[in-house]
Symmetry: C2
Subunit: 409 residues, 2 copies
């Protein structure tokens, strides 16, 4: 297996650190728009090489694939570049993996009722071509989407005879402090992307169809495990809702993000003032996008790891009818399958903060399953199209176990 | 009386419109950094002339005074230019009026406990020179400060034998709508200045000394008259607190601004994210001040008048011991002296929105009292240094009456 990693930012660098401990591949060619950043990430393993890439060009991606005889393209850049990387991999005959699907566009007239272009629509539109060519695009194989989708498959195969709701729930108790020990506001993930996903109309799968709602809809307090505790969660547009119902029978699929009251207030204010806008405005003679200004005044998420404490939890809350070991329906069941990562542990062991580390470990596991043949397939497939057990076992053997919490049904 | 108006923005333009109906002066030379703006404001009366001014230069202000044989300089520019305009007037032997005093600087170590440089300190520092020269600087003669200070003098002279608190309380129920009739967030006053005054440490006079607090301290809901109703008010740094105790005996002086919960949340978020900062940051190759970006994405307050409805109220809540007509102490008393302006009325009658109109009418009244000799003085004086009765009578005769509401003591 010869991997082209596109993007050496936070997640890409953590991917390199995790993969460096595994022997299932021959090489990883680490690429980025900044050659310096690619070289920094590639420096930690002699099997790695570095190159510059223009991720907006499918031709540039394809040329790199051919030059380095790439078998798998691992896409770790901003989702705005999803399609050129996806198309470049296909053109060069490589398999493809990403952690976020092609972007959505809201419905022009009824954005808070019906979807326009949905997340991944552009990729699924060419699924037959990928299948006919015998090539695999494994889309959405980070932590969310990714591990959450693996949990969905596991729940359908082993825990539930009938599923009412597949509810991804993400929450954390991360705190960042300044040099004086005071808490500061410092998102652990790109603020630009957080604004994008939280202010887009959230999508919900219900009774056989997708619909959208207004941002921050259906707030609920979810009690996260391992000491994180209750966090206010709201509907957010996310890939799981588009992926899970394609392979798993369920009445409802939702994604709720534990933004917490503070972040919800901040996002609402930014939107109210128009500071979420990406269109440039004129400010005393210069042109800037307000959203870029917001991102610029906040600390770089890649730099906050050493000043951060706490845990992050990704998981799937499944409700429906349980089943026993023989597959016979039991009674009503409500189960939360989850994966918790402690920032101090990932900083100590890998030098990467927990949110990017938790995203990056899952595609490494998936690539290893593809390398060993434990996972096989062609077409454009989500993680739930594959057997969950070998994935969860391998994740555990990486030293990062998952958990199950039974809730009152 | 020959007036030099420095600044033809919202308040300056409204000043021109109000003064145009009065005959106590010979000329007003309307000046601005933009000659075009000065000319537009000067066009409405044949006694007016227009000129360009650099308000940051005391020499430029003095030269204009001499050229036009100015007797009174009316300062209506951003308070950042207070000192050069004040000094330019003195150099040219003119009297001076402003609506906001020289700026404060927080205490470097204990900003939320003790004042650093206070509002007006730079002006009061040279009070003896003004007095020796027989010249008058009447500082803080807008609505707040201004009319609120006149109310303080009236309360001390006519309503109270002993004053516990002089509490300026400002509130409004103004709403701005877009073309579709939906409410939009559009501050009726400069957002840059709102951030400045609301995020500076508020100052309070108590038991013979000034102290400061953290921003947004001591929230209270005050019930404003004439249909405005209850609004959440918080401590804000304002001139009244520095002016009133210099002339009027009181145990406590406060200023609380009815920002409302929405504006308080917005200001807190802007501060939390660092978007209130005036220091330039680098954003994709250009340098901008985040606060300038916030101001740039919001509607220009000068343009929202036609889309705004509602009333604004400026007033002074006085508590203490009342007195009867003979000056004998009665019992505990709690009185709100106020001035309410309806936006639809000022738009219809003057073409200016109510907040700038209410600020601008008070210096016109004051200048008329100085022209007739009803008010006389020299030195650096606040409005409370003069008899309140002729001011309130003349304000009423302008068609803009004031009110009194007795509250439960």
């Amino acid at each position: 297996m010869r991997i082209l990693l596109v993007g050496a930012g936070g997640v890409g660098s953590a991917f390199c650190a995790i993969a460096a401990r595994r022997d299932f591949f021959e090489t990883i060619v680490v690429t980025d728009y900044s050659l310096e950043r690619a070289e920094a990430a590639a420096a930690q393993d002699e099997r790695y090489a570095a190159a510059r890439v223009d991720a907006s060009s499918a031709d540039a991606v394809a040329a790199l694939c051919r030059e380095h005889r790439i078998t798998h393209v691992m896409n770790a850049v901003d989702p705005v570049f999803d399609m050129p990387v996806f198309e470049g991999a296909f053109a060069a005959g490589a398999d493809y993996l990403d952690m976020a699907m092609s972007l959505s566009k809201p419905h022009p007239e009824r954005p808070h009722e019906v979807p326009g272009v949905k997340l991944g629509d552009e990729q699924f539109a060419v699924a037959e071509q990928w299948e006919a060519a015998g090539r695999l695009a494994l889309v959405g194989i980070g932590v969310e989407p990714g591990l959450s989708d693996v949990f969905a498959r596991y729940a359908a195969d082993h825990l539930f005879s009938e599923i009412d709701e597949l509810g991804t729930r993400d929450g954390a108790n991360l705190v960042v402090r300044d040099d004086d020990g005071n808490e500061v506001f410092a998102p652990s993930f790109s603020m630009w992307t957080t604004i994008e996903e939280c202010l887009n109309p959230p999508v919900v799968w219900e009774d056989g169809a997708w619909h959208t709602t207004a941002p921050f809809s259906e707030p609920e307090v979810f009690d996260f495990p391992e000491g994180i505790g209750p966090v206010e969660c709201v509907n957010v547009e996310h890939e799981e809702v588009l992926l899970m119902p394609r392979w798993i029978d369920c009445r409802r699929a939702t994604f709720k993000y534990g933004l917490g009251e503070e972040m919800i207030t901040i996002l609402k204010v930014l939107h109210q003032l128009g500071l979420d806008s990406t269109e440039k405005v004129s400010v005393k003679g210069v042109q800037v996008s307000p959203r870029d200004v917001v991102a610029a005044v906040l600390p770089d998420p890649a730099t906050i790891g050493p000043r951060m404490t706490g845990k992050t939890c990704a998981g799937l809350w499944v409700t429906g009818t349980g089943k026993d070991a023989e597959g016979r329906p039991t009674g009503p069941r409500s189960t939360y399958l989850y994966h918790v990562v402690d920032n101090e542990q990932t900083m100590r062991e890998y030098g990467h903060q927990c949110v990017v580390w938790q995203t990056a470990i899952n595609p490494v596991v998936a690539l290893e399953l593809l390398a060993t043949g434990a996972w096989q397939g062609s077409g454009v497939l989500g993680p739930e199209a594959f057997d969950a057990v070998p994935f969860l076992d391998l994740l555990t053997s990486y030293g990062s176990p998952w958990g199950v919490r039974e809730l009152a049904p």
